[in-house]
Structures are given as structure tokens and as C-alpha cells.
């Protein structure tokens, strides 16, 4: 027994020690990371962010150096506060507050005292820096914009937030990340990869050389340069035309789906969101809840498409074989339907009309007849609506386009299920006439300007489209993404497009936009005048109609397809049509021959119109 006890003590001790080692080395991982923290210092080497060029190779965005004044509180020595404050132009209180904040964050880790000095401030300060021990200047890189335009396309960069850091451990607190637009969408390409240096430290926090002779160190990889599809000259012209108006212009190249211009109004200069003034300016833009400059109307504004949508109904009618180009429908200032003879109004024009003049004069009665036949071709309105929806969606409406813009909205194309729910089917029945507004793009249909532009491109191409996209080349290599290079077919056969396009051509030659012809260019377009409502003190109030226009040109082998949307601009040709016509001329001829037309657009403002709902007084619309 006595002999055994000693063996027992020794073996028990061994087991306890091994268990303790297991706990320290295997079970409890916090010790492992502690060791990484205190013995190895990691230094990052930030690469240059990629530049951005427009489709013609014009430089839009590059980098500028910026200088942060940093402090390591532990290393501070008494210094001449007055001189320091006067050099940096800050108050003594502010300096003391910042130093206290830095000290409470960490006495050993550098903190920013004054961010983003200009070059001049830096030059002045640098000579004096040696007097202020504990401070030093760290160079960073900021965006430098070579253009005042396309801020909604380019987006901006800012410091990463905690959520982004948790999602992607590549980012560290204080790193910059693309927050909107191309900067966000192509963050991976633009940012490059930062280099890492690991330094072995001793217990006094002194560097004693590279960790493992730099075996794990990496060099930074510079960001890739991007070429985007925007034509900055056209973009700039579009933004000029939209001054004092609200709405969007989206111009596409039909043969490729490239976005030539993506205008939203009102907009702002991209340089406002750079550097020290970013947060102040951003707050200003963010709280402008009336103009909403940060809201990209071109991709996010969901509007009733209005009459341009009639072209789609015409195409579906032809494809379904329920109408031919010759059949004529009469119109007596509108279309009358139902037991109570309800009226879908129309404007005055000659009657009856067949398809091509029906489009040119935008006859509501004609398209009410066509739409009703599309739905009533099937035994139930449910089947009819779903079949119609299938055709409409093949034009890229009613869902996200799947493009490479950082924002977007799906729009809306109603389904039979939507109507069943709305009418409480089968308790109450509904028929084609109950959805008759869809005939003229009014009712339940919603689309964003970019969806309308894409729809126009699909008509221009006679039956297919390329998903609209903003990226043209990465590091001088043209994109090969199948999503953009492979065309998507609509459900309409090619031969049905010619009459509809002819109708759109006649819109210009003799129809609703005949005063906007451009010499030498065959334009095909369609006006739209969309009714809209708002709520004032909880009351539904109608506002002046939105002015909508879609167009492509030239008629054969089209080079540009666009949709213009001007909020409360009244009838289609009034604002949107004029702007579309000028944009087409600018793109195809690169000069404007109709100076009077241009002056009219530039000099007319809709601000009075926009002020009406806020005036708190009764107002008239559509003047």
C-alpha cells in the first residue's frame, strides 16, 4: 500500500498536467490569438484604387493623396499648443477633446487627430512636424473626380462599417469601401489587394525584424482600371437638359445593351462626397426629402409607363393573332364598356383607326379593344391575364433586370393571382374590362425608366435585348460575361415588329410628336402622359401628369434607344419628347441644329409645378 501510494501520486500529477496542457493548448483557443496579438505587429500596405474611364477613354475618376494627422498618446511630449492649433486651424478645446478621445481609445495605438489635410496644409505642417513629438502624418488615398457629372453612376467610397467587416474579414476598421454605384458594384476589382508585413516584436514592443524573414509577407496588388459604358458627353448633356426638372433619362445602345447615359435629376457633383466634407454634404443630400437627390430615378423610380406600353399590347395582339394591322376600331372620345357604360377617355383624333395610326395618334379606344381581345382569347380572364403577363415579362418588365447597377427596382406586372386577391375571387368575379387600364399602361403596371429603355431597345432590335450594363472593360479587357453578351429573346416573332415600328415612326412624321423631327434621322418614338396622384393631408390629390417618352433611332440599324421620364411635365411630347429628341441628335450628330428647341428646354423650369403640393393652397393641374 505504501509503495503504491507514491506511484499513484506521481501518475496523478502527470495526468493533471497533461489535462492542464490540453486545456491551455487545445481547448482554450483564446491564448492562441492573444499570442498573435502581442508578438507580431501587422502592417498593411494599401494599393492604389483603380481609375474609371468612360466609353471613349476619357478619365472620370482617379486618386489624390490625402494626409491624416495621427497621434500616439503615449509618446506625446509637451508641445506648443498655440502654434499647433494655429497651423491646423482648430481650437484648443477641440484639440484637447480629440487627444482625450485618442487616449481613452488606446495610449499605444495611433488615432486620427485631424483627417484629410489638403496638400497645402500638409506642406506647411510638414516642416513643423518635428516639433510635435507623438504626432505624425499618414498618407492615404482619396478619390479625385475629373467630372461634375454621373455621380449616381459612379457612386462613392467611405469607411467600412462594422457589418461589412463582419461579413468580409478582408476589411479592417478605417479601410475604405465602395458604398454606391460602380464603386460598390466593382469594389473587388477596383480596390486591389492590400499587402501585409508582419513584424516580430519583443516584450518592450520594439520591432526586432520581419516575422520568419518575411515568409508570410505579401506585396500590394493595385486595383484594376475600369472602363464604363457611359458616354460622359451625352451624360453631361442629359443632366443639363434635366436641370430644374425631376425624373430620369436612360439611354442604351440596343445592339449591346450598354448604358450610354443614366441621368437622374436633381443630382449632385460627385466631388461633394469626398474627404472631410463628405459627411456634412451627405447629410444635406440625405435630408432633402423633397428633391431626393440621392434617389436614382433612372433605376429606382417606379412609374406607370403610360402610352409607350401600348406598343407592347400591339405586339402581343399580333403574336396572339387576335388582330391584324388592317382592322379598324372606332373611337368616340373614348372606349365604353360594361353594363353601366363606363368610359375610358381619349383625346380628339380622326376615327376609326387601324394599328399604325392607332399607335401614331395613341388612341386609347383602339388599345382597349386589342387588350380585351388578348385577355378574352382564353376561357377565363385568369388564363388570359397570365398569358399576357408572360409576354410582357419577356421584355424585361416586372422583375429585376439582373444588371450590374448597385440599385434597382422590379417594377410591376400584375398576375391573375393579384387580381384574384384584389377582387376576392371566387366570391366576386372579375373580367378583362376590370383590368382595362393595362391597355394604356396606366392601371397596375409599373416600370422604371431603365426597364422602359430596355423595352424600347427590344423593339428596336426586333425581338431581343441585351441586359443593360455599365461595365465595358476591366483592365482593358472587354467583358465576356454571358449575362451581357448573349441576347435574350422576347416572346414576339420578328415579323410582328415592323408595323409597330412603323407606327412609332409615324408618331414623329404625323402623330403626337411631329413637331420634334430631326432632319436626316429616322426616329421612332412613343409619347406617354401618365396620370399620377399624391396624398396631401391624407387626401388623394391628382397632380399634373408625368411626361413620358420612349424612342430609338435610326429606324434601321438603331444606335440609341432611350426612355425619358419627367415628373409632372404634362403631356409626353412637351418635356420628355423634346429632351429625347435632343439627346438623339446629340448622340448621332454630336451637335444641336435646333437651338430654339434646346433653349426652350434649358429655360423651362418645373419648380413651380413641384412647389404646388407643398403650397398648402388649392392648385390647378395640367396647365
Amino acid at each position: 500500500m505504501r509503495k503504491l501510494l507514491l506511484y499513484l501520486i506521481i501518475i496523478t500529477t502527470g495526468i493533471i498536467f497533461i489535462a492542464r496542457l490540453f486545456y491551455l493548448q487545445i481547448y482554450n483557443t483564446s491564448y492562441a490569438s492573444l499570442s498573435e496579438d502581442n508578438a507580431i505587429k501587422v502592417i498593411y500596405d494599401y494599393p492604389q484604387r483603380g481609375a474609371i474611364y468612360d466609353r471613349n477613354g476619357k478619365l472620370l475618376v482617379t486618386n489624390q493623396p490625402s494626409y491624416d494627422v495621427m497621434v500616439i498618446p503615449r509618446e506625446l511630449k509637451p508641445f506648443d499648443t498655440l502654434e499647433f492649433c494655429s497651423v491646423l486651424n482648430i481650437s484648443k478645446d477641440k484639440l484637447i477633446r480629440r487627444l482625450q478621445k485618442a487616449r481613452s481609445y488606446s495610449p499605444r495605438v495611433p488615432s486620427i487627430v485631424i483627417p484629410q489635410l489638403t496638400k497645402d496644409e500638409y506642406a506647411f505642417l510638414q516642416e513643423k512636424m518635428r516639433k510635435f513629438e507623438g504626432f505624425y502624418i499618414q498618407k492615404r488615398s482619396l478619390r479625385d473626380y475629373q467630372t461634375y457629372h454621373a455621380s449616381n453612376v459612379l457612386g462613392y467610397i467611405g469607411e467600412v462599417n462594422d457589418a461589412a467587416i463582419r461579413k468580409d474579414p478582408y476589411y479592417l476598421s478605417g479601410d475604405l469601401i465602395g458604398i454606391d454605384g460602380v464603386e460598390k458594384q466593382y469594389e473587388q476589382e477596383l480596390r486591389g489587394i492590400k499587402g501585409v508585413k508582419r513584424i516580430q516584436k519583443d516584450r518592450f514592443n520594439r520591432d526586432i525584424g520581419p516575422y520568419k524573414e518575411g515568409k508570410f509577407d505579401t506585396l500590394p496588388v493595385n486595383g484594376k482600371d475600369l472602363q464604363i459604358t457611359i458616354d460622359i458627353a451625352l451624360q453631361k448633356y442629359g443632366e443639363r437638359l434635366m436641370v430644374n426638372k425631376r425624373g430620369g433619362i436612360v439611354a442604351l445602345e440596343p445592339s449591346t445593351g450598354e448604358i450610354l447615359a443614366l441621368v437622374t435629376a436633381p443630382s449632385y457633383k460627385p466631388e461633394l462626397l469626398v474627404g472631410r466634407k463628405r459627411s456634412r454634404e451627405f447629410t444635406k443630400l440625405f435630408y432633402d426629402t423633397i428633391g431626393k437627390p440621392l434617389f436614382d430615378r433612372g433605376v429606382k423610380g417606379e412609374y406607370p409607363p403610360g402610352s409607350p406600353f401600348k406598343t407592347i399590347n400591339a405586339l402581343i395582339g399580333l403574336q396572339e393573332g387576335i388582330v391584324d394591322t388592317q382592322e379598324r376600331f372606332s373611337c368616340h372620345m373614348g372606349y365604353y364598356y360594361g353594363k353601366t357604360n363606363r368610359r375610358l377617355g381619349c383625346h380628339s383624333h380622326r376615327s376609326p383607326l387601324n394599328m399604325i395610326p392607332g399607335i401614331a395618334h395613341s388612341c386609347n379606344a383602339y388599345f382597349a379593344n386589342v387588350y380585351r381581345r388578348i385577355i378574352e382569347k382564353y376561357d377565363t380572364p385568369q388564363e388570359g391575364v397570365d398569358n399576357w403577363k408572360k409576354h410582357v415579362e419577356s421584355f424585361g418588365l416586372g422583375n429585376y433586370l439582373g444588371n450590374d447597377l448597385s440599385a434597382g427596382r422590379p417594377g410591376r406586372v400584375p398576375s391573375a393571382a393579384d387580381y384574384n386577391k384584389q377582387y376576392d375571387y371566387p366570391t366576386y368575379k372579375w373580367y378583362a374590362t376590370g383590368t382595362i387600364s393595362n391597355a394604356i399602361g396606366q392601371g397596375e403596371v409599373l416600370a422604371t425608366p431603365i426597364q422602359l429603355a430596355n423595352m424600347t431597345a427590344a423593339i428596336a432590335n426586333r425581338g431581343y435585348f441585351h441586359t443593360p450594363h455599365i461595365i465595358k472593360a476591366i483592365d482593358n479587357k472587354p467583358i465576356e460575361d454571358k449575362n451581357y453578351t448573349v441576347p435574350k429573346k422576347t416572346s414576339i416573332d420578328k415579323e410582328h415588329f415592323e408595323p409597330v415600328i412603323e407606327g412609332m415612326h409615324q408618331v414623329y412624321t404625323q402623330g403626337t410628336a411631329s413637331f420634334l423631327q430631326v432632319e436626316g434621322i429616322d426616329i421612332c418614338g412613343k409619347t406617354g402622359t401618365a396620370e399620377n396622384y399624391t396624398k396631401i393631408n391624407g387626401e388623394r390629390v391628382q397632380l399634373t401628369d408625368h411626361s413620358v417618352f420612349i424612342a430609338f433611332a435610326p429606324k434601321e440599324n438603331p444606335k440609341i434607344a432611350l426612355a425619358v421620364f419627367v415628373e409632372n411635365g404634362y403631356w409626353g411630347a412637351r418635356y420628355a419628347g423634346r429632351i429625347a429628341s435632343l439627346m438623339i441628335e446629340k448622340h448621332l450628330k454630336n451637335s444641336i441644329s435646333r437651338k430654339d428647341l434646346e433653349d426652350w428646354v434649358l429655360s423651362h423650369s418645373l419648380e413651380d409645378e413641384y412647389a404646388k403640393p407643398y403650397s398648402k393652397e388649392p392648385f390647378k393641374i395640367n396647365q
Binding site: I10, L24, Q25
Partner: protein, 417 residues
């Protein structure tokens, strides 16, 4: 005679010893090498010095084996007295290194006599207990034995080197083996247990708790008519002990001693001040993972974060660079060596050799247990080296002598008459 003696040397023990010493040297190298190449005469490098100590210990081994085995028994008392004298001499001629006057300065090196006093005490105790006249069951013999053990310890404590003095508790091993009543061990263990309880909960709660426990026990067994006076006496003694522990801890101990206990008991957390050593050492070991960072690749070791890493904290280098597997291997090596020595001690025909063997096991075990316990944060900081591993000439030589005298005695067992 010498021939058969060499043949009967326990080569397994020698092999384990060699493994530990060489592996220890590898770790000392890692904990102390610089970037520049050091010549073999560069005595500023501790790993080079340790190399010389190892080489010279070879000489010691040869000497211990060449000396007649009977010499150790015959001259045990002389060696013991000489050793005591060398300890006393420190008060006059001693050299102070990091606060402790424990060294003789010989110019080219310093000698720490307390490292050799352990072997001398082991010899003296073995000699006394193996005497035909001695019976450990007699109180007056017990007192004599305790005196032999306590004398060097009492001289060492005020140097001050309480860690080295603590090692003398190791002689409970041979005493117990030779028949010391288990009561001593039970009393000792209970005292230690009460000590920790008192520090954790305060004397009042411990005494109240014990009183309640006793009351319940007596209530249950009241039909057996227990002797209440005896229980009352125990309670009184415990009360006295607890309050005196409390008093001594708060009034006699110095603050650094209190801190060391408080940190291990988890009553205080201070990673930067007094708890720095233990904390850094645990970080280093913990960062090793399963297989460690590799020889000479330990970031904590390179950065010099663990103080005294090449001496008392050498085991943290093992933990960091060789990982769980390496550190476990070292622990198993020690356990194996200790078990082997126990087995060897038991096979001695001579009582002297057996008692000496048990002393060797006891001393090595206390060093091993206290050192590894301290480095892994299980025990308070007590500065004693890890046998064969830690840097230090006196230490290495002391342990070598201790072990190889026993190997010589063991090898000689066939010649016992």
C-alpha cells in the same frame, strides 16, 4: 568488482537522463540564441555555457561511478556537515544575484551550494534511518530525522530562497516509505487544504462550516456514544489554525507572497503586474496548439515575453514550440523516469540505498510538480528549476550528482553483503 558494476548500471535511467538533458539544451538554445553567429568560446550566450555544464557533468558522472559505493554511506555525515557549512558560509562570503544571497563567486562561475545540499541531506537521512538503532516509529527518532531535514531548509529560507527550502518537504517520501505514521501525512494534507479554504472563504466561514458538518455527523452517530471532547479538541485546533493562517497571511507574509496566492486562487486578476510571468507563460504555452510552432519559431520565445524563460520558465518554450504533443512527451518522460527510480529504489537490498532512492524520487518529483504547476498556472509562483531542463550549472550538476550516486548505489546492489 568495477567491471560488474558498470555492466549492472541501469542504462534505461541513463538513457532517460540523456534525453531530458539534450532536449532541455535544445530549448535553452531556442530561448536564448541571437541572430548573430556565436563562437563556442562566447560565454555571454547562455546556451554555450549550458553546453559546457553538460560536458562537465559528464566528468561528474565518471567520478561518481568511479568512487566506491560504500564511500557514500560511510562519508554521508561528513558530506552533510560540509554541505551545511557551505550554506552557512553564504552569510559571510555569499554573492547576491537577483535578491538572493545564494551563490559563491568563483570568478569564472558562480556556485549555488543549496543545489548540492539536497543530495547531501538525502545521504545523511538515508544513513540515519538505515541505522540498526533507528526506528522511525519512535518520536525522538522522528524528531532527529526532521532535524536533519529541517537544518538546511532553515538556513536556506532567510537567504532568502523559500522555493529551494520548500523542496525539503520531498523527504516525506522516504519517511513515509520507512513507516512514518500516515497521520503526519493526513495532518499535513488537511493543513494545506484548510490553508487554501481559509484564503478563499475567510476563517469564520471555514470554522462555521466545519462545526456544522461535525454537528450533523455527531447527531447521526449519537447512539454510538462518540467522545465529544475529542471532536471539540479538533474543532478548537482547526479554529486556531484558521485564524493564525489568516493572521500570518495578512500580517507576516509580504505583499508579493499574498499576490502570488491570490492570483492562483483567482481572487485577483492582474495580467500586467504581479501576474505577468504566469500570464505570459500561459499565453506562450497556449499558442503552441497541437504540434507547436517548431523549434526556434516560437514568437513569444523570440520576443522574450516570458521572463526567466531559459531558467524556471523553460517549460513554456517546450509548450510553445513543440505544442501539446511535445509538452506531453516531456511530462511522460518525467513520469517514466520517476516510476523507474521508484522501481529501482524498491529493489535495493540495502536500506541505505532504498532510502536514498526514495529521497531522489521525492526531490525530483517536488521540483517537477512545483515547476510545471507554476509554469502552467496551477500553482503560485515559486522559483525552482525544472530538473535537467532549466539553465544553470549548479542545478544541473546538483541533479546529476543526486541521480548518479543512486545509479552507482543501484549498480552496486549485486555486491551487497
Amino acid at each position: 568488482m568495477a567491471k560488474s558494476s558498470i555492466a549492472s548500471i541501469d542504462w534505461l535511467t541513463v538513457f532517460l537522463f540523456t534525453l531530458l538533458v539534450l532536449f532541455g539544451w535544445l530549448n535553452i538554445y531556442s530561448a536564448s540564441y541571437g541572430d548573430e553567429f556565436a563562437s563556442w568560446t562566447d560565454f555571454s550566450k547562455v546556451y554555450i555555457k549550458q553546453g559546457y555544464w553538460i560536458a562537465l557533468s559528464l566528468l561528474l558522472i565518471i567520478i561518481t561511478q568511479a568512487i566506491e559505493a560504500k564511500f557514500y554511506e560511510r562519508f554521508a555525515s561528513v558530506i552533510y556537515v560540509f554541505s551545511l557549512a557551505s550554506l552557512v558560509g553564504l552569510f559571510i562570503f555569499g554573492k547576491t544575484i537577483s535578491g538572493a544571497t545564494s551563490w559563491y563567486n568563483l570568478g569564472f562561475m558562480s556556485i549555488q551550494p543549496s543545489e548540492f545540499a539536497k543530495a547531501a541531506t538525502a545521504l545523511a537521512l538515508a544513513k540515519f534511518l538505515s541505522d540498526m538503532q533507528t526506528n522511525i516509529r519512535y518520536l525522538n527518532h522522528q524528531l532527529k530525522a526532521f532535524l536533519i531535514i529541517a537544518l538546511p531548509a532553515l538556513i536556506i529560507i532567510p537567504q532568502p530562497d523559500p522555493g529551494s527550502a520548500l523542496v525539503y518537504s520531498a523527504f516525506l517520501f522516504p519517511l513515509y516509505r520507512e513507516g512514518l505514521a500516515a497521520t503526519y501525512l493526513i495532518i499535513g494534507a488537511s493543513a494545506a487544504f484548510l490553508f487554501v479554504l481559509t484564503l478563499l472563504f475567510g476563517p469564520i466561514w471555514v470554522v462555521v462550516g466545519l462545526a456544522v458538518a461535525m454537528f450533523m455527523f455527531l447527531l447521526k452517530n449519537r447512539k454510538r456514544k462518540p467522545k465529544y471532547s475529542r471532536y471539540l479538541l479538533v474543532l478548537l485546533v482547526v479554529t486556531g489554525f484558521c485564524f493564525s493562517v489568516n493572521y500570518i497571511f495578512n500580517n507576516v507574509f509580504e505583499q508579493r507572497h499574498r499576490d502570488r496566492f491570490n492570483i492562483v486562487l483567482g481572487k485577483e486578476v492582474d495580467a500586467k503586474g504581479i501576474g505577468y510571468n504566469t500570464n505570459q507563460s500561459q499565453i506562450a504555452i497556449g499558442s503552441g496548439g497541437w504540434t507547436g510552432k517548431g523549434w526556434k519559431e516560437g514568437t513569444q520565445t523570440k520576443g522574450g515575453f516570458v521572463p526567466e524563460q531559459h531558467t524556471d520558465y523553460i517549460f513554456s518554450t517546450v509548450g510553445e514550440e513543440w505544442g501539446f504533443l511535445g509538452a506531453t512527451a516531456v511530462i511522460l518522460l518525467f513520469i517514466f523516469l520517476l516510476a523507474r527510480l521508484l522501481f529501482m529504489a524498491e529493489r535495493q537490498k540495502s536500506t541505505f540505498s532504498r532510502i536514498y532512492g526514495y529521497s531522489v524520487v521525492g526531490i525530483l518529483f517536488v521540483h517537477f510538480a512545483v515547476n510545471v504547476g507554476m509554469v502552467t498556472g496551477l500553482l503560485p509562483t515559486v522559483g525552482i528549476p525544472l530538473p535537467f531542463f532549466s539553465y544553470g550549472g549548479s542545478g544541473l550538476w546538483g541533479f546529476t550528482l543526486l541521480l548518479f550516486i543512486f545509479i552507482k548505489l543501484d549498480a552496486n546492489r549485486v555486491n551487497e553483503w
